[in-house]
C-alpha cells in the first residue's frame, strides 16, 4: 500500500491545482493604448474577440468596415465574450485589438485596468458620442472616462398571449404593472393548475433575471450614481417580496421554475402557442423570434412595462466595443468601433435585414441600435404596419420606451454587485432567506467588494 501514496498525493495535487493555475503576470503594455489611436489611416491586422457576427446585420457591418479600410485584415475570433479567454489573453500579452462585451461588465473591467479609456480615440477619431443614446453612454463610462462605444439597446415590455386572455376573460389592459394588487389578481385569474402543478402561468415576473427592472419600477436605484451598491433599498425589498408573492400564488418557485423550464422559448411551438404562459415582460429581440410562431396560431398582444405611476419604464441592455490593455492595433480598433456604430453603417445593416425579411416573406420588427438617429431614420424608412395588430403594438411599445429607459449605473464592483443580487434573489426564491435578509446580506457583500475595488 505504501507505494500507492506518492502517486495519490501527486494526483490529488495535480487535480486540485490545475484548475487554478496562475498565469504568469506580464505587463501587457506592449501595444498602443486608445490614447494614440485614430491619428492615421489604419492598417495591419485587427484582431476581434467576443463577436459572433453571424447574421446579416453583423455581416453587413463587417463588410462596411472592410470596404472603408481595405488595408486592414480583420481576424475575427468568433464566439461570444469569454471572460477567462479574455483575461488570460490580456495578462499573457496576447490581447486582441478590440473586444465586444456586454455593457454591464465595463465598470468592472475598467476599474481593474483590463480595458483602456477611449477618450482620445473619440476625440481624434471624430466619434460623435451624442449620436448614441444617453443611457447607453452612461453604461460605458467610469469616473468621467469613456471606455466603450455602445451598440444595440434592449428594452422590455409585456408580451401577452391573446388566446390565454380570451379563455380567462381578461382584458389586455389588465396586464399592467402599475397596480400590483390588480396584477396579482389578474395573474391568479390567468393561472391554471393541473394535478397540483402549473399548467399555465398567468404572469411570469421573470424576477430571477429582471429584478433590477422591478426594483426600478418601484422607485429603487440598485446602484447609486457613484457606483455604490444600494441593493437593500426598502423599495427593492418590496419589489422582491411582491414578485415572490406572485410566484407563490402560481404554484411556488419549485413548481413554477420546473414548468417554465419546459418552455420552448425559441421554437415555433412555444409557451404562447402551447398555452403555457399568458404574459411576461421580455426584451425587444424576442418579437423577431415570435415571427415563426404566427403559423402555429400565435395571437400576440402587448402592453408597456410601467412604473407604479403608470409611466413606461425599462432597464436597458446591450454591448459595446472596448479596447483592451495591450492592444497592438488600437488605431484600427478605434475606427472599427466608429464604423460599426455609425449612422451610415446601421443603414446598411437595415438594408440587409430588409432583404432577409423580403426573402423570408416576413416583416420588419425594428432595429434597436443604440444610435438614436439611426433608430429614428430606420424606423421611419422601414417600419410599416405589419397587418398583425398585436405585433404592431408590441413593436410600438418597445420603440416608445427607448427614450425613457434607464441604465443601471456602472460600478467598479459591477460584477460583484450583479452576483450579489442574483444570489439574494435565488435565496429568497428558494425560501432559504426572507427577501429583506437576502438583500441585506447581498448589500453587505457588494458594499465590501465596492469598498475594496480600485475606482478606475
Amino acid at each position: 500500500m505504501k507505494h500507492l501514496r506518492l502517486p495519490v498525493v501527486l494526483a490529488a495535487g495535480a487535480l486540485a491545482l490545475t484548475a487554478c493555475a496562475g498565469v504568469g503576470n506580464k505587463d501587457a503594455g506592449g501595444g498602443s493604448s486608445g490614447q494614440d489611436s485614430a491619428e492615421s489611416t489604419p492598417s495591419g491586422t485587427l484582431s476581434v474577440m467576443g463577436f459572433s457576427g453571424e447574421d446579416e446585420v453583423a455581416q453587413s457591418r463587417i463588410a462596411a468596415f472592410k470596404a472603408a479600410y481595405p488595408g486592414v485584415t480583420v481576424k475575427n475570433n468568433k464566439g461570444d465574450f469569454d471572460a477567462q479567454q479574455f483575461l488570460t489573453a490580456v495578462s499573457s500579452g496576447n490581447a486582441p485589438d478590440v473586444v465586444y462585451m456586454a455593457r454591464n461588465l465595463i465598470g468592472t473591467y475598467a476599474a481593474k485596468g483590463a480595458i483602456v479609456p477611449l477618450d482620445d480615440c473619440i476625440a481624434t477619431g471624430g466619434i460623435d458620442t451624442t449620436q448614441y443614446r444617453d443611457a447607453a453612454m452612461n453604461e460605458v463610462k467610469l469616473k468621467d472616462k469613456t471606455y466603450g462605444i455602445p451598440e444595440f439597446y434592449t428594452v422590455s415590455a409585456n408580451l401577452i398571449s391573446g388566446k390565454a386572455l380570451t379563455s380567462a376573460g381578461v382584458a389586455v389592459s389588465d396586464i399592467q404593472t402599475a397596480d400590483w394588487d390588480k396584477l396579482e389578481a389578474t395573474a391568479k385569474k390567468l393561472y391554471v393548475a393541473k394535478n397540483g402543478r402549473p399548467a399555465r402561468i398567468g404572469y411570469d415576473p421573470k424576477v430571477s433575471d429582471l429584478f433590477p427592472l422591478w426594483a426600478m419600477a418601484n422607485g429603487a436605484e440598485l446602484v447609486k450614481p457613484g457606483g455604490e451598491p444600494n441593493l437593500n433599498d426598502p423599495k427593492a425589498v418590496e419589489a422582491l417580496e411582491f414578485t415572490i408573492k406572485l410566484i407563490n400564488d402560481q404554484g411556488g418557485w419549485s413548481n413554477f421554475k420546473t414548468f417554465r423550464d419546459t418552455f420552448d422559448l425559441f421554437g415555433a411551438k412555444n409557451q404562447f402557442t402551447k398555452d403555457q404562459l399568458a404574459a411576461f415582460p421580455i426584451e425587444n429581440w424576442y418579437v423577431n423570434v415570435l415571427l415563426d410562431s404566427r403559423s402555429s396560431g400565435l395571437q400576440l398582444q402587448s402592453t408597456p412595462f410601467t412604473d407604479r405611476q403608470g409611466q413606461p419604464i425599462s432597464t436597458i441592455g446591450g454591448s459595446a466595443w472596448v479596447v483592451p490593455k495591450g492592444a497592438k492595433n488600437a488605431n484600427a480598433a478605434c475606427q472599427w468601433a466608429k464604423t460599426m456604430t455609425s449612422l451610415e453603417t446601421w443603414h446598411k445593416a437595415a438594408e440587409a435585414r430588409m432583404q432577409t425579411v423580403t426573402k423570408d416573406k416576413s416583416f420588419f420588427t425594428g432595429l434597436f441600435t443604440g444610435n438614436k438617429k439611426a433608430d429614428e431614420e430606420i424606423k421611419a424608412k422601414y417600419l410599416k404596419p405589419t397587418g398583425d395588430a398585436g405585433f404592431d403594438q408590441a413593436i410600438n411599445n418597445y420603440y416608445d420606451v427607448l427614450d425613457k429607459a434607464k441604465s443601471i449605473n456602472p460600478s467598479a464592483a459591477g460584477a460583484e454587485i450583479d452576483a450579489a443580487w442574483k444570489a439574494a434573489v435565488g435565496k429568497a426564491l428558494a425560501g432559504s432567506a426572507t427577501p429583506k435578509a437576502a438583500l441585506d446580506q447581498a448589500q453587505s457583500e457588494a458594499k465590501a467588494a465596492f469598498d475594496k475595488a480600485p475606482q478606475g
Binding site: 500500500m1 500507492l4 501514496r5 495519490v8 498525493v9 494526483a11 490529488a12 495535487g13 495535480a14 487535480l15 486540485a16 491545482l17 490545475t18 484548475a19 487554478c20 493555475a21 496562475g22 498565469v23 504568469g24 503576470n25 505587463d27 501587457a28 461570444d80 471572460a83 477567462q84 483575461l87 490580456v90 495578462s91 468592472t108 481593474k112 485596468g113 483590463a114 402543478r197 421573470k206 430571477s208 433575471d209 429584478f211 419549485s254 413548481n255 413554477f256 421554475k257 420546473t258 414548468f259 423550464d261 419546459t262 460584477a415 460583484e416 452576483a419 443580487w421 442574483k422 444570489a423 439574494a424 434573489v425 435565488g426 435565496k427 426564491l429 428558494a430 425560501g431 432559504s432 467588494a449
Partner: protein, 323 residues
C-alpha cells in the same frame, strides 16, 4: 555487519575503497536506464511544465492580491483569512462534501453493478464496454443540457419512469433540496472509466476460488462478499480515492446546469459547489490570489481525506502481489 567490523577495525580511517565505489553497472543496464528516462521523459517534462509549475505559481499567488492585469501585490495571509470570513466558501465546501458523500458510494455501487452485468454478457461484451465508456467522451456541456431535460420535474423522462411505478418524482433541478442529488445522478453518466476498471478486476479473480466455495456450499451472495469484494478491493479502493478527488473538484455539470452563460437567471446557492465558486472568484471577480488560496485549501482537504482513506483502506485492501 561487514561495515561495522571494518569501522571497528579502522576507526578514523578513510572509508574502504570497496564501499565508496558503486557497483559497476553493465552497459546493458545503463542502456536500459537511458531508455527508461527517455520513455518517461515526456511525462516528467509535461508534469514539470503543466502541473508542478502552475502549482508553485498558484502557491505564490495565493499570498498576493493578483487581479490578472496588474502585477501581483503581496498581502501575506490575507487571502487565507478571507477564506474563513467569506460565508460562500463554507457553503460551497459543504455543498461539495454533501455531493461527494452521495456520489462516491452511489457511483461505486452503480459502476460495480454495471461491471458485474458486463462480465456476464459474453460475446457482446466489447460492444457494451464501448457503449458504457462513450459517455466519458461526451462533452460535459452537452450532458448537462441533456440532463436538464431528463430531470425536469414535470415533463422529464426520469419522473415519467418514476410515475409508472407510482412515485411522484421531485423537481430535481428547481427544488433546492434536490439540486445536489440531481448533480450526483448526472455524474453517474461519466462512470465508464470506473466500470472498465472494475470489469478488469472482476476478470482477474481466479475461477477456482468460486469453484472451491461452491463445493463448500457458498451461495452467490456469500461468494460475492467473501470472494469477489475482497479480491477486487484494490480496484475498489483506487476508484473510491480517485472518485472522491474528482467529486471534490466537480465543476462541469454544476456550471453548465446552473451557472454557465446560458443560465442568466439567479441560481440557488444549494448548487454552488466549491470549484464553481473558485472559478467565479478567479474569472468573474478578478480575485486570482484568493482563488489560488481556495485551490490550496482544497488541496489540503483532499490530501487529508486521501490520507485518511489510505490509512483506513490499508487494513482492508488485498493486493495479489503482496504477502
Amino acid at each position: 555487519m561487514t561495515t561495522t567490523v571494518e569501522r571497528a577495525a579502522a576507526p578514523g580511517q578513510a572509508e574502504p575503497e570497496r564501499r565508496r565505489r558503486r557497483p559497476k553497472r553493465s552497459p546493458l543496464t545503463r542502456r536500459e536506464d537511458r531508455a527508461g528516462w527517455m520513455f518517461i521523459g515526456p511525462w516528467v517534462l509535461g508534469f514539470l511544465i503543466f502541473t508542478a509549475g502552475p502549482m508553485i505559481a498558484s502557491l505564490v499567488l495565493s499570498f498576493t492580491d493578483y487581479q490578472m492585469i496588474q502585477a501581483p501585490r503581496a498581502v501575506g495571509l490575507d487571502n487565507y483569512r478571507e477564506l474563513f470570513d467569506d460565508p460562500r466558501v463554507l457553503k460551497s465546501l459543504s455543498n461539495t462534501f454533501v455531493y461527494a458523500a452521495m456520489f462516491v458510494p452511489l457511483g461505486t455501487i452503480f459502476a460495480l453493478v454495471l461491471a458485474l452485468m458486463l462480465q456476464r454478457v459474453g460475446r457482446a461484451g466489447g460492444f457494451f464496454r464501448t457503449a458504457f465508456y462513450l459517455p466519458e467522451m461526451t462533452p460535459a456541456v452537452a450532458a448537462g443540457a441533456m440532463f436538464l431535460l431528463l430531470l425536469n420535474g414535470q415533463q422529464g423522462l426520469v419522473n415519467k419512469v418514476l410515475g409508472w411505478v407510482g412515485i411522484n418524482g421531485p423537481n430535481w433541478t428547481a427544488d433546492p433540496n434536490w439540486l445536489k442529488p440531481s448533480l450526483a445522478i448526472v455524474s453517474l453518466w461519466t462512470l465508464g472509466g470506473t466500470v472498465v476498471i472494475y470489469l478488469a478486476a472482476l476478470n482477474g479473480v481466479p475461477r477456482q476460488l468460486y469453484e472451491a466455495a461452491e463445493l463448500d456450499g457458498a451461495g452467490p451472495v456469500t461468494r460475492f462478499f467473501r470472494i469477489t469484494v475482497p479480491m477486487i478491493s484494490g480496484a475498489l479502493f483506487f476508484t473510491v480515492i480517485t472518485n472522491t478527488i474528482a467529486s471534490m473538484q466537480m465543476f462541469d455539470q454544476a456550471y453548465t446546469m446552473f451557472y454557465g452563460p446560458q443560465q442568466k437567471a439567479a441560481a440557488s446557492e444549494e448548487s454552488l459547489v466549491y470549484m464553481v465558486y473558485l472559478f467565479q472568484n478567479a474569472f468573474q471577480f478578478f480575485k486570482m490570489g484568493f482563488a489560488s488560496a481556495m485551490a490550496w485549501l482544497l488541496f489540503v482537504i483532499i490530501l487529508t481525506i486521501t490520507f485518511l482513506q489510505v490509512r483506513i483502506g490499508n487494513r482492508y485492501v488485498y493486493y495479489h502481489g503482496e504477502r
